[in-house]
């Protein structure tokens, strides 16, 4: 087990190193070079030379990469071209927003998806099952930003059930502790903040939840169907165990194994979806940051930091899922 963990961790480090090298090379080969990206096309030659020196671009490439990595490891990603703020600061403001949104979406997806998938499997071939399957197919076929606009239009324009955008009502007084507004409200006992943040969170979270929800429903359903036919379920029934016990201990517990893996894999879908959802609801997280960094002249320092951060989150989550799998499933553990 330990060997597996160490091997996977090494692989992870290698992968991230390779990615960082690629990004580094990309930045060096920008059209016009990074200096022009910073100064714009009409800068005087003197200023260019000055900045080239200041940024160390006149040194050998390996030295540059070494310095780049040294800075990255110590958390220094340079300054944003657009605003001039340190990238780390910009990211630390946006990161909690995205995590809050993604977590809420995941809670919805798992909370609804597992019971729905289970029910669909139990009623296989009947109307509930067919409706559920049709729903999941629609869920993965609809462009989620379009769904976002539909929900926004439906629930914020004519019936004002939810606010159309942002994370908090402007003017509301909140204290930032963790950056997760729902949590901050609870921690500082400003419950109005929590309520307001939740109210803002619902529509974006539902939008973002569609794809993971559809996938989780399908996996749960398929997995429950597999388990229902297992011998140990028949044995349990033959022993005369109560249905509730069979359902909980024998069926659900075994059926949830593949679901756990799926949840990990859906982190990717969540991060991808967040970019789109955040643009629709003007959420102010990493997704908004990416969109802004691209459209308002490419803000490369910010972009590269987001890319590395997203990769880190994605890879680490998947590693954790793989490892947790070994703990949940004794069959994997033995090997």
């Amino acid at each position: 087990m330990l060997r597996v963990i160490v091997r996977r961790l090494l692989q992870l480090v290698v992968t991230l190193m390779a990615l960082s090298a690629l990004i580094f090379i990309w930045l060096r080969n920008l059209p016009g070079g990074p200096v022009e990206a910073l100064l714009g096309e009409r800068a005087t030659p003197e200023r260019r030379v000055l900045l080239t020196k200041a940024l160390g671009y006149d040194q050998p490439i390996l030295v540059q990469y070494g310095k780049f990595m040294q800075k990255v490891v110590s958390g220094d990603f340079g300054n944003s071209i657009r605003t001039g703020d340190p990238v780390t600061e910009v990211l630390s403001r946006a990161f909690p927003a995205t995590i809050e949104l993604a977590a809420a979406a995941m809670i919805i997806a798992v909370g609804l998806g597992v019971p729905l998938g289970y029910l669909a499997a139990r009623h296989r071939g009947r109307i509930l099952d067919n409706l559920t399957i049709a729903g999941t197919l629609l869920g993965i076929s609809i462009p989620i930003f379009f769904l976002g606009y539909l929900l926004k239009d439906g629930f914020t324009q004519n019936i004002h059930w939810f606010p159309p955008s942002g994370r908090l009502t402007t003017g509301i007084d909140n204290t930032t502790v963790t950056g997760f507004f729902v949590l901050d409200g609870l921690l500082t006992r400003e419950f109005d903040v929590t309520a307001d943040a939740l109210w803002h969170l619902i529509l974006p979270a539902v939008t973002l939840a569609t794809i993971p929800l559809a996938v989780i429903v399908r996996i749960t359903r398929a997995s429950v169907l597999d388990v229902l036919n297992e011998d140990y379920v028949r044995t349990a029934e033959a022993k005369g165990l109560r249905h509730r016990t069979i359902r909980g201990r024998h069926i659900l517990r075994n059926a949830l194994l593949p679901v756990v893996t799926t949840i990990g894999l859906q982190t990717g879908a969540l991060l991808s979806g967040a970019v789109l959802t955040e643009k629709v609801y003007n959420w102010g997280g990493l997704g908004t940051l990416i969109t802004d960094s691209i459209s308002g002249g490419r803000d490369y320092p910010v972009l590269q930091a987001i890319i590395l951060l997203a990769a880190l989150v994605f890879v680490v989550v998947n590693l954790l899922v793989d490892l947790s799998y070994a703990f949940i499933d004794p069959r994997v553990r033995v090997r």
Binding site: Q11, P143, L271, S272, F314
Partner: protein
């Protein structure tokens, strides 16, 4: 979803009639005639059992499956509309009509009127014709992105699966790097790397995202076949390694790849739409492509005329659904668990 359908059971041979093909002279000399005949018999019988009948079996099951039929009808109609778009569309998709531009402002985009069933687009062009022509560009983007992704993925997967060892390890680490980023973020990164977007950057970005998926799929299937009986039989016959890979292993892995390609098409047009929505799409204002229409005009004028978003969105949903239904039905049909 990650390491999808790598089902060893699907790897049925289909190399029926190539008797003695690729068997080197020397080996024939060494084997007695009877022995040789028996080995060939073995190679052929394993081939016949899986091969032809599996595909036929799958097709038979597909034709009985209503899901597959619905999917196939949608896909078929979509392709027909794309081919005959100029005949179906009432107008030229890029021409601006004075009837439509007359009252056209940012806040007033004329709706349905005589001769223009769905009204105008933001530039005074016939929206209905653009939608119909949009099927062509959408098919073009989807097919090209899928084919490029499949081609590169199959190349990487086949090399990894055929050579194994360190080649395999090295190539799999490359796919690891590609898989380290969530799909849309990878696509965004790729587009952002190009100084400006064109239709090709979009196609390329969407294609690259799918490369590691195809590569892993094919590799897994080929590795599973290395151990299978028909490969063993071919090897015993003295078939050259190159021919084993090209004629026995690769063709038998392609079923799973084709199924994946069908599903990929749906994802590709959704991804292309997402890139357009983020402002990273094709900048050509004359191009009529559903993702572009939805992501750019549909977004910008959603409040003024939501139809500009509704119709392309509906088209994308229906087509993506069609490909997904067909792909899922195909996947189910080739699943050995469902064989009788």
């Amino acid at each position: 979803m990650s390491d999808p359908i790598t089902r060893p059971g699907v790897t049925a041979p289909r190399s029926g009639g190539e008797r003695g093909d690729g068997v080197s002279e020397r080996n024939i000399g060494l084997l007695g005639e009877r022995k040789k005949a028996r080995l060939e018999e073995l190679a052929r019988s394993t081939a016949d059992k899986g091969g032809v009948s599996l595909v036929r079996d799958a097709v038979r099951r597909l034709r009985r499956n209503p899901v597959a039929i619905v999917g196939a009808i949608i896909v078929g109609l979509f392709i027909l509309v794309a081919i005959f778009a100029p005949l179906i569309a009432p107008h030229d998709p890029v021409q601006r009509f004075p009837e439509l531009t007359k009252d056209l402002t940012v806040d007033n985009i004329p709706g349905s009127q005589s001769g223009f069933p769905l009204g105008s687009d933001p530039l005074g062009r016939d929206f209905a014709s653009r939608l119909i022509h949009g099927s062509r560009q959408t098919l073009f983007v989807g097919v090209l992105a899928t084919v490029i992704g499949l081609g590169l993925g199959v190349l990487i997967g086949a090399i990894a699966g055929a050579f194994g060892g360190w080649v395999d390890q090295a190539l799999m680490r490359v796919t690891d790097v590609m898989l380290a980023l969530p799909s849309l973020l990878l696509a965004i990164t790729l587009v952002a790397m190009a100084s400006r977007s064109t239709q090709w950057t979009v196609i390329f970005a969407v294609a690259i995202v799918n490369v590691p998926i195809f590569a892993r799929l094919l590799r897994g299937s080929m590795l599973a076949q290395r151990e299978s009986d028909h490969v063993l039989a071919a090897r015993a016959l003295g078939v050259k390694e190159r021919n084993i890979v090209l004629r026995h292993m690769l063709p038998n892995s392609m079923t799973a790849v084709i199924v994946q390609a069908t599903l990929t098409f749906a994802v590709a047009i959704l991804d292309a739409a997402a890139l357009s929505f983020l402002g990273l799409g094709d900048p050509d204002i004359n191009r009529a492509e559903w993702g572009l229409m939805l992501g750019v005009d549909g977004q910008r004028y959603f409040e003024v005329r939501p139809e500009l978003a509704y119709y392309p969105a509906l088209a994308i949903i229906v087509v993506a659904l069609g490909f997904t239904l067909l792909g899922e039905a195909m996947r189910e049909a080739i699943d050995p668990k469902n064989r009788r």
